[in-house]
Amino acid sequence: MLPILEAHNLVKKFNGFTAVDDVSFAIEEGEMFSLLGPNGAGKTTTIAMLSCLLAPTAGEAVIGGHSVTRDPMAAKKIIGVVPQDIALYEELSALENLHFWGRMYGMGGAALKRRIAEVLEEVGLADKAKQRVKTYSGGMKRRINIAVGLLHRPRLLFMDEPTVGIDPQSRRNILDSVKALNRQGMTVLYTTHYMEEAQELSQRVGIIDHGRLIALGTQQELTQMVGQMDALRLHLPEGQEAGELIAALQALPDMRQVTTADHQIVLIVPDAQEAIPPVFAQADRLGFKIRSVEIEEPNLEAVFLHLTGRALRD
């Protein structure tokens, strides 16, 4: 079977700055594929080229057999785009927005009305559809932003960080709808900088950093890159300066990597069980309290750490 999307050596330069650097990947029909990368990695720029909004500096992409550079109109018909920045008319109601965007997709009449009712149901906002978008919460706006991208039943849906900056409940709702859409057969290209989302949603993940696709594969394949390592997550009480402890932990034998973020320290070690006693001993010696410890299987966070030496979220 032919992939529904193929990106071949995509490059995008902005005045000499390379935002996307030789990115190649393919997505099979029906697949849910995540592009995982930190801020500024080049996710949005990649999506913009794939949705024919930005001409690649070099390289090519083919969507449903249509080149994005030579036959963009045919390629666009296949895709639905959910942009990272909410693109709606705030002064119009959700219903009016959907109606307008439906007409832009060439729909109309009773078919459009029915479809609007369906997508509103899918994103769970049917009861609030008559309100102006500007009265919505951030999460509701994001859900309407998604609904617009679904109107014309695209075979391939691009979702660019659709959960950024919203409450956990809306986020849950969005992740569940994405999974439901995929189950119904829609192919999804999902970008995120949340490791958990990529982990929950997709079989295959591409990791992008500084414009380069640094890893690509199933989650299993990716975590195997880290080797048989465990991750040990220490939760510290708030307001403690952990620098001293980190230095001490780094000095322990068998310690592969130590990173820290939000009162947490993540240790990569060959065997978590063995590492715990000396870690606690060091904390005790330096007078640090450890609130709790989690042992984690190697995850995408660890993969990113392994490949770049940096945490995904800084």
Binding site: S51, C52, K76, A87, M104, H152
Partner: protein, 416 residues
């Protein structure tokens, strides 16, 4: 084609939901026409000054704005228009209206200032408290005058609040002058008009106008189209500005992602600008016809002239959007254009063009051509009389449109 209509229709809808825009598009030109008309004596028939209108003011506000409005109504500026007295008792004021002692009562409720200028962030969402104008049904015109003055005041407050161009604080900090400016400006224009009263207000190009007609020519027939045209220039810049707003907000990119080529999108946006301008003109014309009983002249001529005038005006609006980099720049350029063209094209002076070179320069404004057309129609001309004006407006619009589209495509708007 349906996409094009969808875009234009959506733009029309968006503008009519924008309160600040509506105030400038519709309320302000209407209020200025009314205010200037009053002072020029357009309503009193013979051109003599109208007697003072009795009005009573009840200020329960206790804030800056309530005081400012009371001051305005009782000020020396409005002395020969209004005989205002200040009351503390609301019921007494209402019964004064009922017993026909006064033409209207203006009641500023408690908390008016606070609802406009919130003391703290929590109060921001508090509903606005409205000023009440109790109108004497027996004296509709006099009461209408009072109401229009209050509306003018509120427009100023709104413009400061919504437009964000003049912070309310500044407005008030400058000694509450701003609220009086409307009246002063109107008076000034009125005096200018009055001093011209001996000679014709405008040189008329048509020779077939009977002299008697010129004599009792209603000055509103010069003021109303002038104001409408001046503010039309604002409207077209606002409409064109939305092209840059859509680019900034990502809705343009989203339209492009729907397999709609850039060409039709741009045409849809241009159609939106045009539609909004036409709607504004017809609303203003209709309102003045109904409320002031103005006779604009041959309906066919008026319709054709409006359609042509908006073509010329839209051309200028699009040009601004095509040269500007940000929506803000378009807004500023649009305001400047409105004032400049309004003055140059005689819109604020009943169509009188400047002398000499400036007068020739005025021919680049849609205002001058359209004003000449409206004047001719009001004096009994028909479609053939205004054909040259219509032709000039259409040619102007076509040329500006071509330049604007070329500029847009050079900026990459028409790529894919």
């Amino acid at each position: 084609m349906t996409k094009l209509i969808a875009i234009a229709w959506k733009d029309l809808r968006l503008i009519f939901r924008d309160r600040a825009a509506l105030i400038l598009m519709l309320a302000t030109p209407f209020a200025l026409t009314l205010g200037m008309g009053l002072i020029t004596g357009a309503f009193s028939g013979g051109g003599s000054s109208i007697p003072q209108l009795p009005v009573v003011v009840v200020n329960q506000d206790g804030g800056q704005l309530g005081d400012a409005l009371t001051q305005l109504l009782t000020s020396a500026d409005l002395d020969d228009l209004l005989a205002a007295r200040v009351e503390t008792d609301e019921t007494a004021a209402r019964s004064a209206v009922e017993s026909d002692q006064v033409a209207a009562a203006v009641i500023v409720p408690a908390g008016f200032t606070d609802s406009i200028i919130p003391k703290d962030a929590d109060a921001l969402s508090a509903p606005a408290v409205a000023i009440e104008v109790v109108m004497n049904p027996g004296r509709p015109i006099s009461a209408g005058v009072v109401r229009s003055i209050v509306e003018g005041f509120i427009d100023q407050v709104e413009a400061g609040r919504v437009g964000g161009q003049v912070a309310i604080g500044q407005l008030l900090g400058s000694g509450l002058i701003a609220s009086q400016e409307i009246a002063q400006m109107a008076q000034q224009f009125g005096q200018e008009q009055a001093s011209l009263a001996g000679e014709p207000l405008i040189r008329v190009r048509r020779s077939d106008v009977a002299p008697e007609e010129t004599n009792d020519f209603n000055p509103l027939l010069l003021l109303a189209p002038g104001m409408a045209l001046a503010f039309l220039m604002f409207t077209v810049s606002l409409g064109s500005r939305s092209i840059l707003v859509e680019r900034r907000d990502g809705t343009l990119a989203r339209m492009l992602s729907t397999a709609t080529p850039a060409g039709p999108i741009l045409v849809g946006k241009i159609a939106g600008v045009y539609l909004v301008g036409v709607a504004q003109m017809f609303i203003l014309i209709l309102a003045s016809t109904l409320l002031f009983r103005l006779d604009w002249g041959d309906p066919l001529g008026v319709i054709a002239l409006v359609l042509a005038a908006v073509v010329g005006a839209a051309g200028w609006g699009l040009l601004l959007a095509a040269v500007a980099k940000t929506p803000n720049q378009v807004a500023n350029l649009g305001m400047t254009m409105m004032l400049l063209f309004g003055i140059l094209g005689g819109s604020f002076f009943g169509g009188a063009l400047p002398e000499g070179a400036l007068g020739r320069l005025a021919k680049i404004t849609p205002n001058a051509w359209a004003m000449a057309g409206f004047t001719a129609l009001a004096r009994g001309g028909d479609l053939t009389d205004i054909a040259p004006d219509i032709a000039a407006l259409l040619a102007m619009g076509a040329a500006l449109l071509a330049i604007s589209v070329a500029l847009f495509s050079r900026k990459g708007f028409l790529q894919r």
